[in-house]
């Protein structure tokens, strides 16, 4: 069961490890990203970022989707992290359950993302189209870097 799908181009890092995991208390983290699999050093860095006492798996996007759909994780509270809005949309469309919350965290690519919707969040025009589609498919979408940030209505930002 997915409790939170986060879109963050840094995947798992301090903000996620300390603040989000502490707030959400998931059973496991699923990192779903194709590029990370071939980058041993980044993979190692992400493994080091994981707090002790929580399970984590790093998968390709396809494998990640299969995993979320696997009956064996049905009762686990999963925290899923993807890198892009495209990947988020693929996950949302392909998994059997409805996701309660999609959180847009860090999106720091200023060259690609010409719409600065919040501090540290730059979306491309395509990202905005994707987010609007995501909104139709999930219960809620928010933009928060850390959980204590003010919850702002995504419609006011894009």
């Amino acid at each position: 069961m997915v409790v939170l799908l986060r879109i963050d181009d840094r995947l798992l890092h301090g903000q996620v490890a300390f603040s989000w995991l502490n707030t959400m208390g998931p059973d496991a983290i699923v990192i779903a990203n194709d590029e990370i699999l071939s980058n041993e050093i980044q993979k190692t860095a992400i493994k080091m970022a994981k707090p002790a006492g929580i399970k984590m798996t790093i998968r390709s996007l396809e494998d990640g989707i299969d995993l979320i759909n696997n009956d064996r994780v049905k009762k686990m509270k999963l925290f899923v992290v993807v890198k892009t809005t495209e990947d988020a949309l693929k996950v949302i469309k392909r998994i059997k359950e409805k996701i309660p919350l999609v959180n847009i965290g860090g999106m720091s690519n200023r060259t690609k993302g010409n719409n600065n919707i919040a501090k540290g969040v730059y979306l491309s025009d395509q990202d905005i189209i994707n987010v609007k589609e995501i909104q139709k498919l999930v219960d809620k979408v928010d933009v928060r870097i850390v959980p204590t940030d003010k919850k702002r209505n995504i419609n006011d930002l894009i």
């Binding site: 300390f18 699923v30 050093i41 190692t44 850390v146």
Partner: protein, 144 residues
């Protein structure tokens, strides 16, 4: 209630608090004392002391930058108060872990745990990366 006072030479204290804020957002229980903002280290000490004496019901974790440094040496005097716990050799991970630890846990126990894990998080990485990472750390695990 557990409060934190971060004290350092230069401006490390406010710097570490600003970094913590970026990572966890809320740091309302943390106060920073930069030695640069005081005339002398005694002024810093008096400021911290007045805070502690005024609120005996609050447990204070004082984090200092350097064992043997003047800030730590003076603040150690405050160990005569039962609501004071001093952690020296502070770093960002240590502050975050202790700040987020449950208040149901005794401060002493929470501090010792955070110190232990913070020690383990001081690491060296270089080429080739596999030489610096334990096999157990690299292992893929099943979620079930």
């Amino acid at each position: 209630m557990r409060q934190f006072i971060i004290a350092s030479h230069g401006e490390l204290a406010s710097g570490i608090v600003s970094a913590a804020k970026m990572i966890i957002g809320d740091v309302t229980r943390v106060k920073s004392c930069n030695l640069s903002d005081y005339e002398t280290v005694y002024d810093l000490y008096e400021n911290v002391k007045s805070c502690i004496v005024a609120n005996p019901e609050i447990e204070y974790v004082l984090m200092t930058d350097l064992l043997g440094g003047s800030v730590n040496n003076l603040l150690m005097q405050l160990c005569e108060y039962k609501n004071v716990f001093i952690v020296t050799g502070m770093n960002l991970g240590l502050l975050l872990e202790l700040y987020l630890s449950s208040e149901n846990e005794q401060t002493k126990i929470a501090a010792l745990k955070a110190i232990e894990s913070s020690k383990n998080n001081i690491r060296l990485f270089a080429y080739p990366i596999s030489d610096y990472v334990e096999q157990s750390e690299q292992k893929e695990v099943n979620l079930w």
